[in-house]
């Protein structure tokens, strides 16, 4: 089953897919464009993996890691399907990252690899933008790159884990303005989902609502204001975001448009 959280007509609703778009729990059937899509769950701790696809790591000139390169985002950084993502005027290289997001469904500590998928509630699609201009080599990737407002999207649907028997064999694809720019498969992860859960739960307690973004394959390209970016994962969903400029946020033109 697929689940969404949407805002419509003054309230926040649980919704499920419908041939004409989506259906709220109270029976109302609506078009996709008629609602505001929120992240499909209220997230707890959000983890993300860097360099977790060998081809992408090579694309960025990195060798394989000895252990997963994991970092944390704050819940405030997350937004939903069809959201607006800001490209600052001074950015020269801003790219999307299509990622399979794993949603934890129960408290988990010291979970062995073999049992790790049993703590997964479901999956959704993530688009985790990065602006490489702001990268620094201190706790890299630093928060200025990876915890920016509007730069991490989740959705549209949370798909029950029971409906995805093999999360390690899903096709990923990104389109910019309708042209495919990134393709890959979750089979190419350096550390697969059970390994990541075993790794994280080996030194900390995971809880229901925690989310793990599992990394992106190669094929990241610079996106521009006005672009429509669609990150799609087989059986999970198709997540759309719109790149907008500083002026949408009332930020004056350079030279004060930094950061």
């Amino acid at each position: 089953m697929k689940h969404a959280r949407v805002a419509y007509a003054g309230a926040i609703h649980h919704a499920t897919p419908h041939p004409r778009g989506l259906q709220l729990a109270d029976g109302r059937v609506l078009a996709e464009e008629a609602v505001v899509w929120l992240p499909p769950i209220e997230v707890g701790t959000v983890f993300a993996l860097g360099l977790n696809y060998a081809d992408h790591a090579k694309e960025l000139s990195f060798d394989k890691q000895a252990e997963p390169l994991a970092f944390i985002k704050s819940p405030q950084a997350i937004m939903g399907h069809r959201g607006q993502t800001r490209r600052p005027a001074d950015a020269t290289f801003m790219h999307y990252e299509c990622e399979l997001a794993v949603v934890i469904g129960r408290t988990a500590r010291n979970v062995p690899r073999e049992e790790a998928l049993s703590v997964v509630a479901g999956y959704t699609v993530a688009n985790d933008y990065a602006i490489r201009d702001y990268l620094e080599n201190w706790y890299r990737p630093n928060l200025r790159v990876k915890n920016r407002d509007t730069c991490t999207l989740l959705g549209p649907w949370l798909v029950d884990a029971a409906d995805i028997p093999d999360p390690g064999r899903l096709q990923l694809r990104t389109e910019v303005n309708g042209s495919t720019t990134q393709e890959g498969t979750t089979a190419d992860m350096v550390f697969d989902i059970p390994e990541i859960i075993a790794y994280l739960s080996g030194f900390m307690t995971l809880a229901a609502g925690d989310v793990i973004l599992t990394g992106t394959p190669k094929g990241v390209v610079d996106v521009q204001v006005g672009d429509v970016v669609t990150t799609e994962i087989e059986h999970i969903g198709r997540l759309v975001s719109h790149i907008v400029g500083d002026e949408v946020f009332g930020i004056p033109a350079a030279p004060t448009a930094k950061a």
Binding site: N137, L200, A207
Partner: protein, 301 residues
């Protein structure tokens, strides 16, 4: 429940049946976060004095300092007073950066930090005054990072340095417990985000009671003996500047806590020892460190 699925309260029986199983699952997923929310936005009114959350009470209260002190002296246990996102600032103490010497110009860093170097203490790390904190097996001890936590009271997006302190509701003592590590190149999750590695409390004190957050004295006591005394006065970015530089790219919301920085040379605390952090005007945050039990296997499914 109704806050999440308000439609379910409207009596749509068939919709309820269709969604009952889903709702149960959502209840689990949302549970922890929802509980956090109870304390995430408590600052609709400015804080008066001393804001704390007794474990035997359903919600936090704002009372005179003497009342709060009396409760602690009587053995009342407290929760962490707030449960928003906690952001730490690395290397904001000039001496901590200087201690790295020329290494800041060498690989892997290649250049000194430009923007504030931040990290997140996620929800599993949060705990209270009095919580017993486990030292992981195989680790000699934890560094006691004394920090002043600025508790955000109003949403802060692209604030200017000169206005920034207006978004701070109050201040809290934080002990940013860290497994010692030498490299700051990669986000150091196994060192930074151990369970209960972020005690805070025992209370928040209203911002007006700490007029200059850029000149407070932090003291660390291990088993009652002072091991460190430092000041926020030597920090590279004062709090207002930190808030300006951070909210330039990420919005802080009520209940979030920003640590202004941990002084260089944090003392090591071992299992079996107690650690206390004092900040004049705020109080004293004390925790005991205990060894990891060999039988502890967590909550396996």
């Amino acid at each position: 429940m109704n806050g999440y699925f308000p439609a379910l309260g409207l009596g749509a029986a068939d919709a309820f049946d269709r969604c009952a199983a889903t709702v149960q699952r959502y209840r689990e997923i949302s549970y922890t976060r929802r509980n956090q929310r109870l304390a995430v936005n408590p600052f609709a009114l400015p804080l008066n004095d001393t804001y704390l959350w007794r474990c035997d009470q359903p919600a936090p209260v704002d009372v005179p300092l003497e009342t709060a002190r009396g409760w602690l002296a009587a053995g009342v246990a407290v929760h962490a007073p707030v449960r928003g996102s906690v952001y730490g600032t690395l290397l904001n103490d000039r001496r901590a950066l200087q201690a790295l010497g020329d290494a800041v110009h060498q690989p892997p860093y290649k250049a000194p930090p430009q923007a504030p170097v931040l990290y997140i203490k996620p929800r599993n790390t949060l705990c209270a005054h009095g919580t017993r904190v486990v030292v992981p097996a195989g680790v000699e001890g934890l560094l006691a990072g004394a920090a002043l936590g600025a508790v955000i009271g109003t949403t802060a997006c692209r604030v200017r340095e000169q206005d920034a302190l207006a978004c701070v509701a109050g201040y809290v003592i934080v002990n940013d417990l860290t497994v010692p590590h030498d490299s700051f190149y990669r986000p150091a999750l196994p060192f930074r985000v151990r369970d209960h590695s972020c005690p805070m409390g025992p209370w928040i004190r209203a911002a007006r009671l700490l007029p200059d957050p850029d000149d407070v004295t932090l003291s660390v006591y291990v088993d009652g003996i002072r091991q460190q005394q430092a000041s926020t006065a030597g920090f590279i970015r004062p709090l207002g500047r930190l808030l300006q530089d951070i909210t330039a790219f990420m919005t802080l919301v009520p209940g979030d806590v920003l640590l202004t920085g941990v002084p260089a040379e944090a003392p090591l605390v071992r299992a079996g020892q107690s650690v206390a952090i004092e900040i004049a005007g705020l109080g004293r945050l004390e925790n005991h460190l205990i060894p990891e039990s060999p039988s502890f296997t967590g909550n396996k499914p």
